[in-house]
């Protein structure tokens, strides 16, 4: 490590949504000391949701996604420099360029990265893409407009489905592969996922449910996708959409409770050491944070959605400036949106553990509806397809732990019957039993 340490103050690592909103909240709450913001990407904070929607569709340039600054920050930006090590005792962060950054308080906001294809060699084949950052989106868009032959998308989660929708709008042949019986099976379950399966069919996507990809094959460029059932699909472009892993590698030496599932925090957003004590001067927020969510009885979750990054960062910033005996617990009603196949999807709550599902307005057949998830008689989540206007009423009742279903006799309401939501069995614990609420990865 070289160079003289920078003056003390607050450091934020991760210059994206949570980092930016956290920095703004610090200033709004009256913090006027030194503020450093470290980001490994060379860009000022930008917005990711449009990347898999408007940017792929060509409606927005990847570079036009910059997030507006809501407050003047007066911060030192260290962009294009990854934090590579945290020395917790000395309160120093080592940056890839050799800079050492001292801090007296730290906000960890390093988010997540796209889960790469497990075989590193195959992952490097040209034509194999992941989608997390602005450069990824620009590369992918450039490849799509060259009119490749078949596009194969591995993983029918939110991003896989959004990409499939964009590719079909561009007129490209698309195969979408997922081990589950329907798309969005983990986030929304098979009953709702079935609606998107219908959209895939109508849009002419070759959807292969219940199918595993064994290998990506090629010679410098990807040529084929080999399936575990022995079949193979010719492909010129592969989008690997297998979710995300949390960017915690740089914390390895800091003896924190951190792994690919996130860095564990207490209820007030303070990170925990490996032995479970809260570190009073280090906080985390956004995709990278794993925390006990009060609404779901303190279950440890890490939420990969835009709204949480904003709220949690603001909350962490507030607590960073508050006295040790004034640390407020962070509660949150998780929420996300998606747009695909011309449908505006919005959801609130965590669907994990749902044992029942009821369509309470509209109908699945019309692809315009509101449905509620229940667990042991309690309403735990709700999703709307093109019916977002009523969602707040359900959100309010999910947040209040109302019985399932929370609203009867609504307008345009079908006879309510409870269906099995159709979630796949929990996957082999990749992240030490961490629940991931409908991850946007």
């Amino acid at each position: 490590m070289s160079g003289t340490p920078e003056p003390l103050g607050i450091a934020i690592v991760g210059a994206s949504l949570a980092g930016l909103r956290g920095a703004e909240a610090l200033r709004l709450n009256g913090y006027d000391g030194p503020l450093s913001i470290v980001g490994d990407e060379p860009y000022r904070p930008y917005d990711r949701p449009p990347l898999s929607k408007h940017v792929l569709a060509g409606e927005l340039a990847a570079g036009a996604t910059q997030l507006p600054n809501l407050v003047s920050l007066d911060a030192r930006w260290h962009l294009g420099q990854a934090a590579i090590k945290l020395d917790r005792e000395a309160r120093i962060i080592a940056l890839a360029g050799g800079t050492a950054l001292s801090f007296d308080r730290l906000l960890i906001a390093t988010g997540a990265q796209a889960r790469p294809w497990p075989d590193p060699e195959a992952a490097r084949l040209s034509g194999v893409h992941t989608l997390r950052g602005r450069d990824d989106a620009a590369d992918l868009r450039a490849a799509l407009v060259k009119n490749p032959g078949r596009v194969v998308i591995v993983g029918a989660g939110l991003i896989g489905c959004e990409a499939a929708s964009c590719c079909r709008d561009l007129g490209l042949p698309v195969t979408l592969i997922d081990p589950n019986p329907t798309p969005l099976a983990r986030s929304l379950g098979g009953a709702i996922g079935g609606v998107i399966a219908g959209c895939l069919r109508d849009a002419g996507v070759d959807f292969r449910p219940g199918t595993q990809v064994r290998a990506l094959e090629g010679d410098g460029a990807v040529r084929r996708v080999a399936l575990s059932n022995g079949a193979a699909i010719d492909a010129d472009l592969v989008i690997v959409a297998l979710g995300a892993v949390r960017a915690t590698g740089w914390l390895a030496a800091a003896a924190l409770m951190a792994d690919a599932g996130g860095v564990t925090c207490d209820g007030a957003c303070r990170v925990l050491t490996a032995d479970g004590t809260a570190v009073p001067e280090i906080y985390a927020a956004g995709d990278v944070a794993r925390w006990p969510i009060p609404l779901y009885d303190g279950r440890l979750v890490s939420i990969e959605h835009w709204g949480n990054a904003v709220e949690q960062a603001r909350h962490a910033a507030r607590n960073m400036l508050a006295a040790p005996d004034d640390q407020r617990p962070y509660d949150h009603l998780p929420a996300f949106w998606s747009s695909q196949f011309g449908i505006n999807i919005k959801a609130v709550g965590l669907t994990e553990g749902a044992d029942s599902l009821a369509v309470v307005q509209g109908s699945l057949a019309a692809r315009r509806f509101l449905a509620v998830y229940g667990q042991a008689g309690r309403s735990i989540a709700a999703v709307s397809f093109d019916e977002a206007r009523w969602l707040p009423a359900y959100a309010e009742r999910v947040a209040a732990r109302r019985p399932f279903p929370p609203i009867r006799d609504a307008n345009d309401q079908p006879a309510i019957t409870s269906l099995p939501p159709g979630f796949p069995p929990p996957r082999a614990a990749r992240h030490h039993g961490v629940a991931m609420g409908g991850a946007h990865g």
Binding site: Q361, A393, D409, N411
Partner: protein, 413 residues
């Protein structure tokens, strides 16, 4: 019950000039049950949550039933048939999803920014001409001289009703406005007069729509009538007629009240009147604050389709609900110093245009009319002063506004 007497006092014309102290007392019980079973909801939070509640129905009208005529053919055959048709084709303000959404979609498609913007010039010249008419006088009766004639002329223009028929429209609009007044619907004489006006305007509209189909003239009615010509869904003729009538009725008395209340409020706050004169760019803020502070529509009624859990109480299924928008607009839990007229307040999220799925479709048009009229009045009237404060009010408690507003002036620019 104390709650009960409060809302009957709201309905009492004696309290029309200043219902706000009553509203303040009503807000102490955000969801207040009356002895007749109705529930009055008056806080910002409770109304906000209700207008986004899918269990709220606007199909709360008692079904249309024409008064008896003594003519057996009419009483036993024709009128029941007409009633059936009318009930099946209520205008969208009295419909629930999904029918509401389909009808509203047609109207929204014809209520584009361009169409509203195109009315700008027309509104300005109407306002100028109406003010010009007052030249040489030392008194203006704002309602008669400007607030009343303006909106009807504008809606006729929007729909494409020939100018020559405007006086007739004005008469119909005045009569039918009472149909939107929740507390006046039951009265026998009113019903008779409403039916007559409705029949007259409906047959007029039927003929006009036929003409627009043959010779489209680029106006809203031509657009609504032509929509679907290329095979897409199309509004049936009866819905078309009831929609056209709704646009007339919903956009008339409301806009009259906004302009009149606006001038009244500015005359009560002369410093604001002066500021508006010198800073015309302030007008949009002034209009929003007016919609909060003196809204033209004080309340609307709904019905509970199911038991509604709200703020710790249950509104039982079938209950008639009164959404007291004007009380929510003065809720101190939402607005600091709510009884002060202050266009500079940072938060003016009022319910002046309602909220949720029935949010006013004519809001942009209403804003333009109020803005142009108030700016012109401030600029052109010399030394305006109220002749009577408070002015006399029309009886309606929901569509609340002055019957007349006398203003003395020393000249016109």
């Amino acid at each position: 019950m104390a709650d009960d007497t409060l809302f009957s006092q709201v309905l009492d014309p004696a309290n029309r000039a200043d219902p706000y102290p009553l509203y303040a007392r009503l807000r102490e019980t955000p969801v207040a049950r009356q002895s007749d079973g109705k529930v009055v909801v008056s806080t910002h939070a409770a109304i906000r949550s209700l207008v986004f509640d899918p269990r709220l129905s606007s199909e709360d009208l008692p079904p249309s039933r024409r008064p008896r005529t003594g003519n057996p053919l009419k009483d036993w055959f024709l009128n029941p048939l007409k009633d059936r048709v009318a009930n099946a084709h209520r205008p969208l303000i009295f419909r629930d999803p999904p029918a509401h959404d389909a009808l509203r979609g047609f109207v929204m498609a014809e209520f584009g920014v361009e169409r509203v913007r195109a009315l700008h010039g027309r509104v300005s010249s109407l306002v100028d001409a109406l003010i010009e008419n007052c030249r040489g006088r030392d008194e203006v009766c704002l309602v008669e001289d400007l607030s009343y004639p303006l909106p009807v002329a504008v809606i006729c223009d929007l729909l494409g009703v020939p100018e020559a028929d405007e006086p007739q429209f004005q008469a119909w609009a005045t009569q039918l406005a009472t149909a939107l007044e929740p507390d006046a619907r039951g009265d026998e004489a009113t019903r008779r007069a409403n039916v007559a006006a409705f029949d007259a305007i409906a047959s007029y509209m039927r003929a006009l729509i036929k003409a627009k189909r043959r010779h489209p003239t680029g106006d809203m009615l031509s657009g609504l009538a032509a929509r679907g010509a290329s095979g897409e869904a199309r509004m049936g003729e009866v819905d078309l007629i009831s929609t056209a009538i709704l646009l007339l009725v919903a956009g008339h008395e409301t806009t009259v009240n906004l302009i009149t209340n606006g001038m009244l409020t500015l005359l009560r706050h002369p410093d604001e009147l002066e500021r508006l004169k010198s800073e015309p760019a302030r007008a949009p803020r002034v209009i929003e604050e007016l919609l909060r502070y003196e809204p033209p529509v004080h309340f609307r009624t709904r019905k509970a389709l199911g038991d509604i859990d709200i703020g710790g109480t249950i509104i039982p299924k079938g209950t008639a609900i009164i959404l007291l928008f004007a009380a929510a607009n003065r809720d101190p839990a939402r607005f600091a110093d709510p009884d002060r007229f202050d266009p500079d307040r940072p938060d003016i999220q009022h319910f002046g245009f309602g909220g949720g799925l029935h949010y006013c479709v004519g809001a942009p048009l209403a804003r333009i009319q109020a803005e142009i009229a108030l700016l012109a009045l401030c600029r052109r009237l010399h030394d305006p002063r109220l002749l009577a404060d408070p002015p006399p009010y029309r009886p309606g408690a929901s569509l609340r506004g002055p019957e007349m507003l006398g203003i003395s002036i020393t000249g016109i620019t």
